[in-house]
Amino acid sequence: MTEIVLDTLGKDFGSFTALRDMDLTIRDGEFMALLGPSGCGKSTTMNMIAGMLEPTRGQIRFDGKRIDGVPMAKRGVGFVFQNYAIFTHMSVRENLAYGPKAQGMSRAEVTRRVSDIAELLQLTPMLDRRAAGLSVNILQRIAIGRSAAVEPAIFLLDEPLSNVDAAFRAVMRSELKGLQRRFSQTMVYVTHDQLEAMTMADRIAVMDHGRLLQVGTPLEVYNNPSDTFVARFIGSPGMNLIPARVDGDTAHMDGIGALTLTAAPGTAQVLAGFRPEVVHPDDDGPLAMGVEIVEHIGARTIVHLRAGETEVKAVLDAEHTAPREGQAFRFRVDAADIRLFDPATGAAMKRHG
C-alpha cells in the first residue's frame, strides 16, 4: 500500500546519462509498466527504486518519505527477478520462509505466514518439494510468494516473462494479473514487450534513451501517442508514419495519394500517422500502393505495402479477402484515425476538433 513518487530522478554512469529528469507518480495499488527497448533506462529506474543503484539527481519518495540513502534491505521492496532467482537448493517451504526468518520473526509467525501465502498461491501441496525443476508458473508464484511473505510496500518485477516460451506467455500473463489483483499491491513491471504492458498494466510509462516519453492507460498511449517513438512502439505492428505535404485540409503523400484531415494543421510538412488496423480496403479509395508481402496469421492478415521507398503495413481481419503479393491495393483511411506529427521533433501535433 504505497504511492511511489519519482521526482526529477536522474542517473549517470560516468559521462553516459542513463536516465534524465524522470517525474512519475505510481499510485497506491497501481500496476505500472515501464516499457521501452533495451537501454531506455527502465531497468536503471527500477534498480534505483529497489536501492541497487543510487540516483545521481532527484529523489524517490515512498508515501511522501524520501527513500534514497535507505539501504535496500530496509526499503520494503519485493523484487521478482527475470529468472525468479529461486533458491533451488531449498524446498518451496524454505523459500517462502526465508524472508520472515531473515527478519527474525518468531517461529510461530514464520509458520503462519508461510501457510497463509502458500494457501493464497495454491502452493500448499508442493511445500516440501525441492524448488529445482518445478514449472515456470510455479516458480513465478514462489518468487512472488517469497517476496509477499515479508509484506513489502511495493513489488518490482524485472521482465519475468522473457524466459518463458511464447506458447505459455498468455497463461503467465493472466496468472500474474490475477496475482496482482489478489495482493492489490503497488507493482512496477519492467518490459520491452508492448503486448505484456498493454494486457497487464493499469498505466504504461513509455521510455526511450533515458527519457520518459508518455504515461497513460494502455488505450491512451495507443490512441494518442505523444510522439513518433511511442506511435511506432505501441501496437503490433506499430503505427505507419508517412511524410506528407499539407495543403489546406489535405495531406499529400508522394506516390500514394492524398488523405483528408479533420482540420488544417497550418504547417507545410508533417508525418501522417495511422494504425495498420484503420487501413480499409476500398476499390474507390484515394490511396494506392503495391502489395509486397502478405502474412496470414490466423485471424489477422498483415499486408506489407510499398510505393517507392515508402512502406505501409495494413492489418485486415478475416472478413476481408486478402490481396495477393504483387497486386495493386487501393484503400482509404478515415480522417478521425489520422494523427499528425512534427517531422522535425517527432512530437504529436494538437488535434483541432
Binding site: 506458447a167 520491452h192 498493454m198 494486457t199 501496437g235 494504425r275 509486397e292 508481402i293 496470414h296 490466423g298
Partner: protein, 340 residues
C-alpha cells in the same frame, strides 16, 4: 533446387520415439515450417535431413534420390544455426567466403560465387564490417549468405529468431520471407512460435511428441484443423473448445452427429450486449483488438473483438456464432468432416 521426401520414417532414441512413422514431402522452393512444442520431433527431422542421424526405418529422399548412404558432407544441405554462429573476428566477407575457402576452391570461383550470393541478398555494402557492427537483420543475411554460398540444394534453420525481442522478431520474419522469395531455394524452418510459423511458411507440419498431426498451408490448418490439438496450437488467444452440451450458450441449434466438442475461434464468437447467460469477467484492450473473457456455465470463453468496444466487466451478454465458422470434434478430439 530440391524437394525433400520422408517415407514412413521412424527414429527412436532408446525408449523414446523421437519420430513416429512420418511421411511428408517438401516441395522444391517451399518455405516449409516444422511447428510443435519442445521435444515434439522438429529438431530430429532437421538432423535426419542433414544426415546427423539415420532413420531406424523408412527412407529419406532428396530430389527423388535416397540419401541413406550419403554422408552429411555430401548431402549438400546447409544449416543456419539458432545463434547464427558468425565468426566475430572475421569480416562479413570472410564469413561468407569461409565455406569455400575451407573446401580449397579456386579463388576466381570463390569471388564469382560470393559476388552472386551477396548481390542477391543485398549485402554488398556491408561486407567489410565485422558482425558486431551489423544490425540484427544484416547479421541474419550474412549468416544466410554463408549457408548459401556453396549453392546447397536446400537450407535449414533451427528457431533462428527466438532470441530476438518481440518487435525485432516481427520485422525479421518479414525479412526472411523477402529473402526466401529472392533466393528461390527450399527452406526448412523450425519454430515453436505459432504466429511466426503462420507468418513465414507456405507449408507447415504440426507435430506432437514425434507424430505429425497435420500438414498443409497455414491458412488451411487454421481454418480446418483436423483435431483439437492442431486447433489449439494455432491462434492467439487460443480457440475455445467447449463440450457439446454447451451449444445452447452459443446459440447453435443443431450439432452434427457425433459432435462431442465445439471449437470457436475467439474472433468468431459474437458478443451481444443486453443480457444473457454470459458474464464479462475481464477486458483486455489491445487497441486494435479487445480480448474479453466471458464466464458462462462454469467455463471461460475468450472473444476477440475488433477495435475498442464500450463494455464493462460484470455485464451480462449473450453469445452466438455463425455455424459455418464453428468447428466440431468427436470425443477423441478429431475433427468431424462437416465441410464436405
Amino acid at each position: 533446387m530440391a524437394s525433400i521426401r520422408f517415407q514412413n520414417v521412424t527414429k527412436r532414441f532408446g525408449d523414446i520415439v523421437a519420430l513416429d512413422d512420418a511421411s511428408f514431402e517438401i516441395r522444391d522452393n517451399a518455405f516449409f515450417c516444422l511447428f510443435g512444442p519442445p521435444l515434439s520431433g522438429k529438431s530430429t527431422i532437421l538432423k535426419l535431413i542433414l544426415g546427423l542421424e539415420t532413420p531406424d526405418t523408412g527412407g529419406i529422399f532428396i530430389d527423388g534420390q535416397p540419401v541413406a548412404h550419403v554422408s552429411p558432407a555430401k548431402r549438400n544441405v546447409a544449416m543456419v544455426f539458432q545463434n547464427l554462429a558468425l565468426f566475430p573476428h572475421m569480416s562479413a566477407l570472410d564469413n561468407v567466403r569461409f565455406p569455400l575457402v575451407e573446401r580449397k576452391i579456386p579463388e576466381a570461383q570463390i569471388r564469382a560465387r560470393v559476388a552472386q550470393v551477396t548481390e542477391k541478398l543485398h549485402i554488398g555494402h556491408i561486407l567489410g564490417k565485422p558482425p558486431a557492427q551489423l544490425s540484427g537483420g544484416e547479421r541474419q543475411r550474412v549468416a544466410i549468405a554463408r549457408a548459401l554460398v556453396r549453392d546447397p540444394a536446400a537450407y535449414l534453420m533451427d528457431d533462428p529468431i527466438s532470441a530476438l525481442d518481440a518487435r525485432l522478431r516481427e520485422e525479421t520474419r518479414v525479412e526472411l520471407r523477402r529473402i526466401q522469395q529472392e533466393m528461390q531455394k527450399t527452406l526448412v524452418y523450425v519454430t515453436h512460435d505459432q504466429e511466426e510459423a503462420m507468418s513465414v511458411a507456405d507449408g507447415m507440419a504440426v507435430l506432437e511428441s514425434g507424430r505429425i498431426r497435420q500438414i498443409g498451408t497455414p491458412e488451411d490448418l487454421y481454418r480446418q484443423p483436423n483435431s483439437t490439438y492442431v486447433a489449439e496450437m494455432l491462434g492467439a488467444p487460443r480457440i475455445n473448445v467447449i463440450p457439446g452440451d454447451m451449444a445452447g450458450v452459443i446459440a447453435l441449434p443443431n450439432l452434427p452427429a457425433g459432435a462431442a466438442r465445439i471449437g470457436i475461434r475467439p474472433e468468431n464468437l459474437r458478443v451481444n450486449p443486453g443480457g444473457g447467460e454470459g458474464t464479462i469477467s475481464e477486458i483486455e484492450p489491445l487497441g486494435a483488438f479487445t480480448t474479453l473473457s466471458i464466464d458462462a456455465r462454469g467455463q471461460t470463453l475468450k472473444a476477440s473483438l475488433r477495435g475498442q468496444p464500450d463494455l464493462q466487466t460484470g455485464a451480462h451478454v449473450s453469445l452466438s456464432v455463425d455455424p459455418a465458422r464453428a468447428h466440431f470434434f468427436d470425443a477423441a478430439g478429431n475433427a468431424l468432416a462437416v465441410d464436405a
